[in-house]
């Protein structure tokens, strides 16, 4: 009983901490946007040329599948970071001094994550209700059919994401930016695993298919197909969840899911996996041990031993006393007064050094390999393959842009310097551009040799666009997560698959839109400028 009370208190505090932040409002805004997009017909569930009549069953299923498929990606980035927050606020050290077990804490964190994600599901439920009423194709409300998919699809999916977020935070190699990138590929892998369980087994879904998909799509696909076959025996088994406009569709009436024991068990199994993930996290959880926290924070070579520090303090006291006797004031070099020179490029160099600092040797080897690869590979391969990888390689470097000062609490030092706005922000941006030009520079050489001016322009715009996106995301979010998540998705969809209008690399003629990305670059730099201006008292 007492444990339940403690658990409740932990989850409540965690939940309240998050919902009282501006970012939660943004989260809810995003959820509403997804709900609106679905309502407006920009996210469409189709079976070949058919869609269901917007009755409770269809609307509920649509919202359920949209929530579990899309919010499972975004939701992860939203909830990840609760253990880090306890670490930064030092609340963790207070909790660590209580009798609470590690598994209790990680499960509580998982529940806190789940509470936030469940509130997003709640917003989608309201959106579903409004959608059915406003669409007006069938206004008869069947609450079970409307909300059932949200409860049985979306909530278990959100629970799984909540558990994974805790696990990610406790694994040293996944808790940072690498983990944010890795999650995207894990998420696409999980989606593929679910879809592959269904595709090719249309007539005979095995029980394990339901356990392999965390979104609930197999149940939905099999039952919708079965219903449509009864209406149109010639139906070709197509099933798609599409973002964007699609043509008009034929309509059929679908009356909802019929749940059997295996399917319900499969959904509950994902809640069980979530619990397992949270419990597994306890194995790796450092319990806010300062030594392990520091080691995981990257300062592995740091000597944190207080005993050594004390020795230095005492030595310092003697040293200063001696210096005072000698009169140290004269030993400092005078700084010339008068109008300071801009020394802008010295600052660019300093920003570049800061950005590159701490990179391991293999990072430089990889960057050099990609540069050489761009030069040596056939030009077509360089455009479509090597450059794409070369502009993913420095992702974590760019992700620090615009938020480093907030993250490490150096704002008061940096922003009190002369011309903080006019010098430091542009210098940081230029450093980011130089990194993009450095890793992808090999292709520029090839394009120059080939005399491909359009390609060169597109490449240069791309090299400016990426750090501009990073800077804007960093300044406005105050962290690296937004860029890490957004850029990874953008890279995957736009750059890797060369989707026109999204391909920022600018070197593939069919998908290059340098004018669009030049405009976006200007807007993003402007946004970063405005965001920073709001933080610096005198811009």
């Amino acid at each position: 009983m007492n444990s339940a009370r403690v658990l409740g208190a932990l989850v409540k505090a965690d939940f309240l901490t998050r919902v009282r932040r501006t970012s939660f409002l943004l989260t809810m805004g995003f959820t509403l946007y997804v709900g609106y997009e679905t309502f407006a017909g920009h996210i469409v569930l189709r079976l070949d040329d058919y869609r269901g009549v917007y009755n409770s069953a269809w609307v509920g299923a649509l919202m359920g599948i949209v929530t579990s498929a899309f919010l499972s990606l975004v939701g992860f980035y939203i909830v990840k970071g609760s253990i880090l927050r306890d670490e930064q606020t030092r609340v963790g050290q207070i909790l660590a001094a209580t009798p609470m077990s590690k598994s209790f804490y990680t499960v509580a964190k998982g529940l806190g994550n789940f509470a936030v994600l469940a509130s997003m599901v709640g917003v989608m439920a309201v959106a579903a209700l409004l959608m059915q009423i406003v669409r007006g194709e069938d206004r008869t409300l069947h609450w079970g059919a409307l909300l059932g998919p949200l409860v049985l699809y979306a909530l278990p999916a959100m629970a799984f994401v909540a558990g994974l977020a805790v696990l990610w935070e406790t694994l040293p190699w996944l808790r940072g930016g690498v983990g944010n990138v890795v999650y995207f590929f894990v998420w696409t892998g999980l989606l593929s695993m679910g879809v592959s369980a269904v595709v090719g087994h249309e007539g005979s879904l095995r029980a394990n298919a339901f356990f392999r998909d965390f979104t609930g799509m197999p149940t939905l696909m099999s039952q919708m197909r079965a219903a449509l076959v009864r209406v149109d025996p010639g139906f070709g088994n197509g099933f798609s969840l599409t973002i964007g406009s699609v043509g008009p569709a034929k309509r059929f009436v679908w009356n909802g899911l019929v749940w059997n024991g295996v399917e319900v068990a499969a959904r509950l199994a994902w809640v069980g996996y979530a619990l397992l993930a949270a419990l597994l996290a306890a194995v790796f959880f450092h319990r806010f041990d300062p030594a392990r926290v520091k080691a995981q924070g990257g300062a592995r070579r740091a000597e944190a031993a207080p005993e050594r520090g004390e020795v230095i303090e005492l030595k310092a006291a003697r040293h200063l006393a001696e210096q005072k006797r000698e009169g140290w004031r004269g030993m400092l070099t005078a700084v010339p007064r008068g109008e300071a020179k801009a020394r802008f490029f010295a600052l660019v160099a300093a920003e570049l050094r800061l950005m590159l600092h701490g990179q391991m040797w293999w990072w430089y080897v990889g960057a050099a390999g990609l540069f050489v690869g761009c030069v040596a590979a056939p030009l077509s391969e360089g455009r479509t393959g090597v450059l794409v990888v070369a502009w993913l390689w420095p992702l974590l470097l760019w992700a620090q842009m615009g938020n480093r000062e907030a993250r490490w609490a150096t704002e008061s030092l940096v922003f009190a310097s002369p011309q903080a706005m006019a010098r430091q922000l542009p210098a940081a941006w230029l450093a980011g551009v130089l990194v993009a030009m450095g890793t992808g520079g090999g292709l520029a050489i090839r394009l120059g040799i080939a005399g491909d001016v359009h390609g060169l322009v597109g490449w240069a715009v791309g090299a400016c666009f990426i750090p501009s996106l990073a800077l804007a995301c960093g300044v406005w979010s105050g962290g690296s997560k937004l860029f890490e998540a957004l850029y990874t998705v953008w890279w995957y969809v736009g750059a890797l698959h060369h989707v026109s209008g999204l391909d920022y690399t600018g070197v593939v003629a069919a998908s290059a839109r340098p004018g669009l990305f030049a405009g976006l670059t200007v807007m993003l730099v402007g946004a970063a400028w405005m965001g920073r201006r709001a933080r610096v008292a005198y811009a």
Partner: protein
């Protein structure tokens, strides 16, 4: 070299005034800005360091309004904030090099000064060690070094001794005393002993208002003859606390030695020489009493 603070006020979101009608004029020397927690010291420091804007009033540096030309002040400003961070993967040398570039220092001069400052704050031996492993005192010394990088004419240090052990505190006080000379040093603290040894001027701040601004001697003169000490049995201590403004108490074998601030001598009490702490308490009490009186309708 003159810093003028004219009727400065700062209102935060929600209508909370952290600072109100604050006026002060500073010339070279060490100003001890003394006040209880939440008095508005850090807000004032942030305004002077151009980190935040004043909601009303103005700050003039050499007669120039800081709001219109903040860089005129920033070029000669050294600022050690109460809470500041470092980049944990950089070492002390690299961190100072970065901040020198941000401050626009010429590279050769910056290198020399960094070398000398690391010597001054005795971090030469650990200059290559990542800052993430530094103790609080060592990090504070990095803070002092960065504040001195540009040879500032105005040095603002906000609660520099918070979290330091007594020996470190003494060392910082000495360092600040040495730093004064031709510069204006503003030392903000709630610890009276921090300013006792170093300040040439003291400004008392409470509730966002300037309570007093005077030389330490003048503040002491104000409580001359108002500080009394005597010994009372432990059982009587509560009664004494109710009747007088108690400055300090100390339990000894003969009873409790009580030090009080009052205009009239308590029975059996002896007059004692006032300390700055007595002056501080007296000024704060008078300020609070004045505010209470204003709050009660006639």
């Amino acid at each position: 070299m003159k810093l003028s603070i004219e009727n400065v006020g700062k209102c935060y979101r929600g209508g909370l005034w952290a600072l109100r009608q604050f006026t002060l004029e500073l010339k070279p020397g060490v100003l001890g800005l003394l006040g209880p927690n939440g008095a508005g010291k850090t807000t004032l420091m942030s305004i002077l360091a151009t980190i935040t804007r004043a909601s009303e009033g103005r700050v003039l540096w050499g007669g120039v309004d800081v709001a219109s030309q903040p860089n005129a002040l920033r070029r000669v400003l050294g600022y050690l904030p109460q809470d500041f961070g470092v980049y944990p993967n950089l070492n002390a040398q690299e961190f100072l090099e970065y901040l020198a570039a941000v401050k626009g220092l010429e590279a050769k001069i910056a290198q020399k000064r960094i070398d000398q400052l690391l010597d001054l704050v005795n971090l030469q031996d650990v200059r290559k060690r990542p800052l993430g492993g530094f103790s609080g005192g060592m990090k504070q010394r990095v803070g002092i070094a960065q504040a001195l990088l540009n040879d500032p004419e105005l040095l603002i240090v906000d609660e520099p001794t918070a979290g330091l052990d007594p020996e470190e505190r003494v060392r910082f006080r000495n360092l600040l005393a040495e730093l004064s000379g031709e510069r204006i040093v503003i030392l903000s603290t709630h610890i009276v002993s921090d300013v006792e040894a170093t300040a040439t001027d003291i400004a008392l701040i409470a509730g966002g208002h300037l309570v007093a601004h005077a030389a330490p001697e003048e503040l002491l003169r104000r409580v001359d003859g108002k500080v009394w000490e005597w010994v009372v049995p432990s059982a009587d201590l509560n009664g004494v606390k109710e009747a007088y403004r108690v400055s300090s108490t100390a339990r000894r074998s003969d009873g409790v030695h009580v030090r009080v601030l009052t205009g009239e001598a308590p029975r059996g009490a002896q007059p004692v020489a006032p300390t700055l702490e007595d002056a501080y308490l007296d000024a704060l009490s008078a300020h609070r009493a004045g505010r209470s009186a204003r709050a009660v309708p006639a």
